[in-house]
Structure formats: C-alpha cells, structure tokens
C-alpha cells in the first residue's frame, strides 16, 4: 500500500528514539533502503492507495518523493560516519528525528487533501527542530527558536489559506470531496475572491517554509546551525516539499482561470528572494550561511520559473531536481570541511586543495554546479527559465534574473576560491573518511548523469506534471 512509504519511516523513527545509538545507525540505513525500494515500486504503480480521500500518487509528488528518497539514502550513509566523529550527545534523538523527518516529507509528497498536506508540512517543522538543536550551543538554540516560531506562524497562515479555499467551495455550493484532484476538476466554478485570498495566504505560509524572501529569515540560521547531514536534508528535500504545497495551489489557481494572479505573485516572490540572497551572499563570513543564502536564491529561481509558465516551468522542475542534488552534496562537503577545520568561518580556512583534496574536488565541483555552469543540470534549467522569461514577454524580469545570477556567482566564487586556494593560516584537525567523501560525489555524479541522460520515465512524468499548468518544452 502507498501509505507504507511514510508509515514505515515514521514507525522506525519512533522506535529509533528508544534504541541504542549503534542499532539506530543500522535502522537509519535500512529504512532508507526500504524507502527507496518502496518509492520505486510506487513509480511503477505497484502500490495501491487505500485512503484515496487523503493521499494519491501525483506525478509531481512522486518526483519530489523520489528525489527525497535518493538524497536521504546518500545522507544517511554520510550521517552514520558523521555522528560517530562528532560524538553527538543525544544520538538516538538524531536518528529518530531524521527518520521521522523522512516520513513526514514523504507524507507531504503524497498528500492530496490540502489540510493533510498542511499537517504534514507542519509536522516536518516539528520533527526537524530537534535536528537543528542537536549541538545544544547558544547559537543552535537561537536558530531552533527562530525556526520553530517563524515557520509555525507562517504555516499557520497557510492553514488559513486552506480554509479559505474550503470556503470558496462552500460559497460556490459545489459538493466535491476536499482533495486537490477533485478540486482541479471543478476549479472553474470555485469562488474567485476566496480562492485568491487563499492563494495569497498559502504562498506566504508555505513560502516561509520554502525560504522565499522576505519570510526567509529563519533559513540561514537554521541551515548554518544544524549538523551538516540535517542541513543537507533541510535544503535538498524540505524546501522542495514546501514548494510542492505552493505548486499544487498554483495549479488550482491556473485551472480556475486565475493563473495570471498567482503567477505574478510567484514571480515577485522569486525575484525578491534572488535579489535578497544575492546581496547577503557577497562577503558572507560563514560558508554554511553562504550555502543557505544560495538555497534561498535557488528557491527564488524555482518560484520565478513556475510563475513564468511555458518552457520556464520545465526549467523550474529540472532546477528543483538538480538543485536538490547539488546543494545537498555541497552541504555534505561543507560538513567535511567543518570536521576538517573545526570552524565555519571562511577567514580561518585556506588551502583546501592541499589539506582535504577529495573534499576540495566535491566542494569545488558543487560550486561549479550551483553557479549554473555545464556539465551540471542547473545550466540547462536556468537557460530554459531565461528563454521562458523572454518568450512570455518579461524582458525586465529576465534582465534582473541574469543580474541576480551574476551577483550570486560573484559572491560564491570569492568565498570558494578564498577557501580553496588562499594561504590563510589554517590547521587541519580531521582526516577524510571514505564514507563521508563518497556521498557528495554520488550526488554530483547523479546530477551530471541526469543532465546528459534523463530517463524516459522521469521525462514523461515532468511533462505530465507541467502540462496541467500550461508548461511545454517546445515553446
């Protein structure tokens, strides 16, 4: 059954809270493997849905699910090694929450009922808060508090948005079950005023979780303070889940004939996020914060792409996939650097290429990828979005888009080259372990692989997804 995909990790996660750390590590890995297997089965339609009122296997949901599952497998490999070296105080909580996190994120990707979607997204906040707090420093405390308060409030607004959408059914006096699938069918009859109000709140609410500016303030703190495997998961998987919420609401709006309204909102949020992230990235003293701002920028790109429509939607979906792979790889590399140098500040790190050569290759390759250079996929996706922007008649937005990209690349390049080649006085305190170095490579190679050869299954799924909101790849 389809529900097993999230029930399995949740149950294992709850169990992992109470078992010794060694056993917990094993459970983490085994659950990740099983999860990937179940996900692949779901892709081939092998898993029937039991509670179709709440859950369904939508193409875009499956895409996010597959991505989450794959990234989680890589991260769990890494985490096993990472936690052993950092001597985490409360390891069972870490394992348990990682698994619960996986479970709730899978629930997000499968949810079809708006309020179930909301419950799942709020649950991701709650189970990931202990992950950020795991190091128990003052900064971690502050980051956790900001994360949980800002996200809870933001997501509460999304609940208001969900209720407004419910109200729009009531006022139109249509009798349909409250699921995205059935709402999409009757979208044109829904009350437009409440639908618009609902979308605004959903965009703000889930946008908070997705890290869109100006609601992004929690994101740099949380991502920089969480242990690296958790940061990778937050950035690579959680942000996509929040995006999924907005995407589904946008689909509904598009079908209700209000596509222009929601598109403009998304374009506005997208460009603001890119600009804000670009400004804060220049001269950023903390490399994990730099990566966090880069996530904000990329989420902005995705929102921008989806808002534009046409070819850009295809670009946005591709961007989501590649950003997840590359960014989680980068956070894992950053974790390796942190273990090697024991500092998050760029100025105390130098000569990465000499001290940690393997990490250097993955980190630098990740930087190349995130900057949108070939051979990585972000090059293609950004190109698609740019073409889309010009085709749909947004030349100013396109110009701003390019400007922000340049700003971000400039900011990141300075930091990365500084870390890699400068002669800063730095001491190396850790060694590279195979288990920690391998996962970032695996993620990056996957991204390259998907760039040169996109499997037909994934390709058609993306096309099916974007077809609904008018996305094509033939301009």
């Amino acid at each position: 059954m389809l529900e097993l995909i999230f029930i399995l990790p949740i149950l294992t996660g709850l169990a992992a809270l109470f078992v010794p750390a060694n056993l917990g590590r094993g459970m983490l890995l085994i659950a990740a493997l099983f999860h990937l297997q179940l996900t692949i089965m779901a892709w081939f339609g092998q898993l029937p849905v039991y509670t179709s009122d709440f859950f369904s296997a939508e193409p875009v949901g499956l895409l996010v699910l597959l991505l989450t599952s794959f990234i989680f497998l890589c991260i769990s490999l890494y985490a096993i090694c990472y936690v052993r070296e950092t001597e985490m105080e409360n390891e069972p909580v870490f394992h348990g929450c990682m698994l619960l996190f996986l479970g709730t994120m899978s629930m997000v990707s499968l949810a079809d009922h708006p309020i179930v979607l909301w419950i799942a997204i709020e649950a991701t906040t709650l189970v990931s808060a202990p992950l950020i707090f795991v190091h128990r420093s003052r900064e971690a405390l502050e980051a956790t508090w900001k994360y949980i308060i800002i996200c809870s409030v933001g997501i509460a607004l999304a609940l208001l948005g969900c209720f407004f959408i419910t109200l729009s059914i009531d006022i139109a006096e249509i009798d349909v079950p409250l699921t995205f699938t059935s709402l999409n069918r009757v979208a044109a009859q829904l009350d437009p005023v409440w639908l618009k109000a609902g979308f605004i709140f959903i965009a703000i609410g889930f946008g908070t979780k997705m890290g869109l500016a100006p609601m992004h303030t929690w994101l740099p703190d949380a991502h920089s303070q969480a242990p690296s495997p958790a940061s990778a998961l937050l950035s690579g998987a959680l942000l996509n889940c929040a995006f999924l919420g907005i995407y589904k609401a946008h689909t509904l709006m598009y079908l209700a004939g209000l596509g222009e309204f929601s598109s403009n909102l998304l374009i506005g949020f997208g460009l603001t996020s890119m600009l804000v992230a670009g400004i804060f990235m220049v001269k950023q003293p903390d490399y994990k914060r730099m990566l966090a701002y880069s996530s904000i920028e990329n989420m902005g790109i995705i929102a921008f792409g989806v808002g534009l429509g046409g070819v850009a939607v295809y670009g946005a979906i591709l961007h989501m996939i590649h950003h997840s792979l590359i960014k989680s790889s980068l956070f894992l590399s950053a974790g390796n650097i942190l273990l090697g140098f024991k500092t998050k500040f760029v100025e105390h790190i130098g000569n990465l290429a000499k001290f940690l050569p393997k990490t250097f290759v993955s980190f630098f390759a990740g930087f190349v990828g995130i900057s949108g250079l070939p051979p990585f996929g972000l090059f293609i996706s950004e190109l698609f979005i740019l073409i889309g922007a010009i085709q749909t008649g947004h030349p100013f937005c396109a110009a701003l888009f390019i400007f922000c990209l340049l700003l971000v690349v400039a900011g990141a390049a300075q930091i990365v080259t500084d870390m890699s080649f400068s002669e800063n006085i730095a001491e190396i305190q850790g060694v590279e372990k195979y288990l920690r170095v391998f996962p970032p490579y695996a993620l990056l190679l996957t991204s390259i692989l998907l760039t040169v050869w996109l499997p037909d299954g994934i390709y058609t799924t993306i096309l099916n997804t974007i077809k609904i909101i008018g996305g094509t790849i033939h301009g």
């Binding site: 709440f54 502050e142 809870s152 509460a156 208001l160 209720f163 109200l167 009531d170 005023v193």
Partner: protein, 217 residues
C-alpha cells in the same frame, strides 16, 4: 440560540482584549484556557453543525480537553519551571496595546464589511472575531519580550484560524481525522516550544528574546 453564539464570540473577544491588557503571565495562561474552551465550543453551538454524529461529539470533547486543559497545562508547567519574574515586560506598553486592540477590531470590521458580499449569512461577527483574534495574536507575538508570550501569541493566532476553519466553513467536508491531525500538530508544537523554552532558560537564565541575537548578517 443565536444569542448564545454571540455571547460565546463576545467572550472570545473579551479574552483577546484582556490578554492585551494583562501584565501577569499566569493570568495570560488562564485567559488562553478560557479562549481555548470557547473556541472549541463555538462550532457545537452553530446551527449548521447541530446534526453531528457521535464521532463529532467525541472529537469536540477531545478538543476542549486539548485546547482548554492540556495546552494551558503545558504552558503552566513551563511557566512554573522557567520563569522567575512573572511580569510580562512589554515592548509596546499596555496602554498602547489596548488602543492597538481597538484599532485591530476597527480594521477587522472594516475588512469584514468589505468582504461580506460573498459570506454565508449571519457570519459577519464570526469573521470579525476571527480576524481580531488572528491579528491580536500577531500583535502579542511582536510586542512582548518574553519568549513564552510568543508561544501564547501563536496559540491565539491558531485559535483565530481555527475559528475561520471550523466555524465558517460547512461541516460536510471537514473530516474529524483531519482536524484531529491539525490539533495534534499544534499540541506537539507547543510541547517542542516548551522544551526549547526550558533550554533557553537553562542557557541564558531568562527567557527574554533579547538574548537571542547572536545570529545575524
């Protein structure tokens, strides 16, 4: 019947206003308990919910228990353990807060008037109450120093949203399982916030949000 509904709503408004004026944390927690109970009772009193099965009744009992007893209880425990100084310490003073409350309700009425074209009949005050509760929750979060008042503000926000949800929309498509999920999320959220509060107190010897300013750009 409609008068009882109105009275319940006025009590909710009263609790909102008193929470803005209250200067003791314990009093604030008690007010939240009252508000929680009233918010959970309201859907029961509304006419279009009168035909509900036993499942609904059990759900609302659980809800009163959680909103009226469990969550305030958690807050109370957190308060007893954490806070040494029981004063609220506002950033915006009480007098200004009270008048902010007045402005909030004026705005809520204005918004309701603007929107009431497409509202179900007789629900004007309900929407006003909900909007007031939501905005006052926001106000409370922003205008008080103690971290625990932010939790309380969040709860008030949540109560307001719940008013929109359960009371305004018809019951045909709200499934109790789903609502219970929402409730559970809120409960767990408050629990986790409580744990973090405890840690904040442990680390800084206070729960003043002024201490939380290490991370910035």
């Amino acid at each position: 019947m409609s008068n009882i509904v109105n009275i319940t709503m006025v009590i909710i408004l009263l609790s909102v206003l008193l929470s803005l004026a209250s200067n003791r944390l314990i009093a604030l927690v008690k007010i939240m308990a009252l508000q929680g109970i009233m918010v959970s009772l309201l859907p029961l009193l509304l006419e279009h919910h009168s035909r509900m099965g036993s499942g609904g009744l059990i759900f609302f009992q659980v809800m009163i228990l959680i909103k009226g007893a469990l969550i305030p209880g958690l807050l109370y425990v957190a308060l007893k353990r954490v806070v040494t100084k029981r004063e609220i310490e506002p950033i915006i003073g009480y007098h200004a807060s009270l008048f902010a409350g007045l402005i909030i309700i004026l705005l809520s009425i204005f918004i309701t008037e603007r929107l009431h074209l497409s509202l179900p009949k007789g629900h004007d005050l309900l929407l006003t109450t909900a909007i007031t509760t939501i905005s006052a929750g926001f106000f409370l979060m922003m205008s008080r120093k103690k971290a625990i008042t932010q939790v309380i503000g969040y709860l008030m926000l949540e109560n307001g949203i719940y008013l929109v949800g359960t009371a305004l929309t018809k019951h045909a498509h709200t499934l109790y399982v789903v609502e219970f999920g929402v409730l559970l999320d809120v409960l767990v959220g408050v629990m986790i916030m409580g744990i973090i509060l405890h840690n904040i107190n442990h680390t800084f010897d206070d729960i003043d949000t002024d201490h939380l300013n290490l991370l910035k750009d």
